[in-house]
C-alpha cells in the first residue's frame, strides 16, 4: 500500500469512534465526522472534554478503542508501520505542552522534522531561518528552549509544526501563551498554510479568535462531538458565555 494521498479522499474520517485510556472511562463516545481537504476547523470544549485525546487519534498516537479512523482514505489500524511513519510526516502537530527538546537550539528544534525527512542541510538552513524570522525569533535561533519565554517557546513549537508544509495541521491550544496580537499573527500563518491546501484543526479556548475568524467548529461535550457550521458560531459562543465562558 502506498501512502500517496488518495485523490479527493477526506483528510480524516471518523466512524463510530470511541476511545478510552487503559482501564479508564470512555473519553470519546461514538464520534462521527469528516475533514475534507483544505478545510479549517476550530475544536472547542471544556478542559478535560477530550480535545487532546481526539487530536492524538488524528496524529496517530493512539488507535480508537472502537470504530475506525481513516486518514487520507486509509484505515489507520490496517496500515503497515512504515506507512504510518510516512503518513505522520504529512501531519504537523503543535502540542499543548510544546514538547521542545531542551538540549537543542530553537533552530535545531524547528529543523527536526526536515532532518527526519532527510532534507538537505542547505535547504534546512534557509527555510528554518526564514520561518523563525517570520515568527519574530530571528535573534533567538541559537537559544535553547529553557531560556525562551512561554510565548517564544510556543512560537518555536508552531514553527516546527509547519516547517515541512504539512497536509494536515493540528494545533492544541497554540495561542495560550501569547498576547492577542501575536495570536492573530499566528492564526494568519495557519491561514496562509490553509490557502496553500493544508487542512487545519485548532483546539482553542480563545473566543476572540473563534469569533474573528468564524470557522466551523468541532465541539466536544462529555465525550460527544457535534459539528457546528460556520454560521452558527455566534449562537454557540453566546451559549458558552452564558455558562460562564469556555475553559
Amino acid at each position: 500500500m502506498s501512502t500517496q494521498t488518495k485523490l479527493n479522499a477526506p483528510v480524516a474520517e471518523f466512524n463510530g469512534v470511541s476511545f478510552r485510556y487503559d482501564g479508564g472511562p470512555e473519553i470519546l463516545k461514538d464520534i462521527q465526522f469528516t475533514l475534507s481537504p483544505g478545510s479549517f476547523h476550530f475544536m472547542t470544549g471544556e478542559s478535560g472534554a477530550g480535545k487532546t485525546s481526539l487530536l492524538s487519534l488524528l496524529y496517530l498516537y493512539h488507535l480508537p478503542t472502537k470504530g475506525r479512523v481513516r486518514l487520507f482514505g486509509y484505515p489507520v489500524d490496517e496500515m503497515a508501520r512504515l506507512d504510518r511513519a510516512k503518513l505522520r510526516r504529512q501531519i504537523g502537530v503543535v502540542f499543548q505542552d510544546f514538547r521542545l527538546l531542551n538540549h537543542l537550539t530553537a533552530f535545531d528544534n524547528v529543523a527536526l522534522p526536515l532532518r527526519i525527512a532527510g532534507v538537505k542541510e542547505s535547504e534546512i538552513r534557509r527555510h528554518v531561518s526564514e520561518l523563525l524570522a517570520w515568527v519574530g525569533l530571528e535573534n533567538q535561533m541559537k537559544t535553547h528552549p529553557p531560556e525562551l519565554s512561554g510565548g517564544e517557546q510556543q512560537r518555536v513549537a508552531i514553527a516546527r509544526a509547519v516547517i515541512n508544509r504539512p497536509t494536515l495541521l493540528l494545533a492544541d491550544e497554540p495561542t495560550g501563551n501569547v498576547d492577542d496580537a501575536m495570536a492573530k499573527r499566528l492564526l494568519h500563518l495557519f491561514l496562509e498554510l490553509n490557502k496553500l491546501g493544508t487542512t487545519v484543526v485548532i483546539a482553542t479556548h480563545n473566543e476572540g479568535l473563534i469569533r474573528h475568524f468564524g470557522f466551523p467548529r468541532l465541539h466536544l461535550d462529555k465525550g460527544h462531538l457535534s459539528v457546528v457550521p460556520q454560521n452558527q458560531y455566534k449562537e454557540m459562543a453566546s451559549k458558552l458565555f452564558n455558562r460562564g465562558g469556555a475553559q
Binding site: Y61, H62, R88, R99, L101, L104, A111, R115, I116
Partner: protein
C-alpha cells in the same frame, strides 16, 4: 548538527559502556591468548608423544651398583627386538648430550648427567596408524631383557591431555559467559538510555521517523562506545601478556606451555574489539526495535 546529537545530550551510557567493554575486552583477550597458546602447546605434545615410545634400560642395580657391560648387550638385544616388531618405524639410543638436553628443564644448564644414575633411553618411533601391540612387545622384551621398562608416553600423558582439553572447554565456556554478560550490559545500558529519552523518542516517532532512523543511531553509537572501550582493553592486556610470556621464558617452562602466538592468533585477538562492538550493535538493534513496538 550531527544526527547522533538528536538523542544523546546527557547520557550515562557515554561512560558506562566504554568502561564495561574495556573490562570485557581485557578479559576476553587474556583468556583467548591463554586458550590459543595452550591449545598449540597441547597439539604439540600430542604430535611429539603420539608417535613415540621409550624403553629404559637401567644402568645401576636397585642396590645402587653399576651394572657394567651387561647394559650394552641388553641395549643391543632390545634394539633387535624392537626393530623387528610390527608397527615400529625405528629405534635409537639417546646419546648423553641428548639426555643432558632433556634434563635441562629439571636440573638446569651444565648438570653432569653422566654422573647421575640415569637409565639408558631407547627412543622408539612408532607408526601411529598401526600402533604396536604393547602387550606382545612387553612379553618379548621381558623374555630376553628382563630389566627393560617399556614406557608409552601416550598413556602417561593421557590424564594431562584430558586436563588440558577440559581447560580449553572451560575457556570456551568463559568466553560464552563473557559474550552473554556483554549482551546483558548493552541491553541494560540501552534500556536505561531509552527510558531516559522516552520523551524525545516518542516525539521523533510522532514526527514520522521510522524505526530504523532511531535504532541505527543507537546501534551506531553503542558500536563506537564498545569498540573504543574494548580496544583499550586490548591495549591494556598486551603488557600483561608480555609479562606472563617473560616469566614463562624465565622459568624455562616453554616446553610445557609456549605462550608465543602466531600471526593468525594475533589477528584473532585484534578482532576482539570488533567482535564485541558488533555484538553490541546487534544487541542494540534488537533492544531498540523491541522497545519501539510500544509506539503505534
Amino acid at each position: 548538527m550531527k544526527q547522533s546529537r538528536l538523542f544523546f545530550s546527557t547520557d550515562s551510557n557515554r561512560l558506562f559502556l566504554p568502561w564495561m567493554s574495556m573490562l570485557m575486552g581485557f578479559i576476553a583477550v587474556l583468556i583467548l591468548a591463554a586458550g590459543m597458546s595452550a591449545y598449540d602447546s597441547i597439539t604439540n605434545w600430542q604430535r611429539v608423544v603420539s608417535g613415540s615410545l621409550t624403553v629404559q634400560i637401567p644402568t645401576y642395580t636397585e642396590a645402587g651398583d653399576p651394572r657394567g657391560e651387561v647394559v650394552n648387550r641388553e641395549i643391543e638385544t632390545a634394539l633387535t627386538i624392537l626393530r623387528s616388531s610390527t608397527g615400529v618405524k625405528g629405534a635409537t639410543v639417546l646419546s648423553d648430550s641428548q639426555m643432558t638436553e632433556l634434563m635441562i628443564p629439571w636440573l638446569g644448564e651444565g648438570a653432569a648427567v653422566s654422573e647421575l644414575p640415569l637409565p639408558k633411553l631407547i627412543d622408539v618411533m612408532v607408526d601411529s596408524d598401526h600402533y604396536p601391540d604393547m602387550a606382545q612387545l612387553k612379553t618379548d622384551l621381558a623374555a630376553q631383557v628382563p630389566s627393560a621398562v617399556l614406557d608409552s608416553h601416550r598413556l602417561r600423558l593421557e590424564p594431562l591431555l584430558r586436563l588440558s582439553s577440559g581447560g580449553i572447554k572451560l575457556i570456551g565456556f568463559i568466553l560464552i559467559l563473557l559474550a552473554l554478560t556483554a549482551s546483558f550490559t548493552v541491553i541494560y545500558a540501552t534500556r536505561t538510555s531509552l527510558t531516559a529519552h522516552e520523551h524525545i523518542i516518542s516525539l521523533i516517532h510522532m514526527m514520522g521517523a521510522n524505526d530504523w532512523f532511531i535504532t541505527r543511531q543507537y546501534a551506531a553509537r553503542n558500536f563506537n562506545l564498545t569498540f573504543m572501550g574494548s580496544f583499550f582493553g586490548l591495549l591494556l592486556a598486551l603488557p600483561i601478556m608480555a609479562g606472563v610470556s617473560f616469566l614463562i621464558h624465565g622459568a624455562t617452562l616453554d616446553f610445557i606451555w609456549n605462550p608465543a602466538l602466531d600471526i593468525k592468533q594475533w589477528i584473532v585477538l585484534g578482532c576482539v574489539p570488533v567482535g564485541l562492538a558488533l555484538l553490541a550493535f546487534v544487541t542494540t538493534l534488537k533492544t531498540v526495535s523491541d522497545y519501539l513496538k510500544r509506539f503505534l
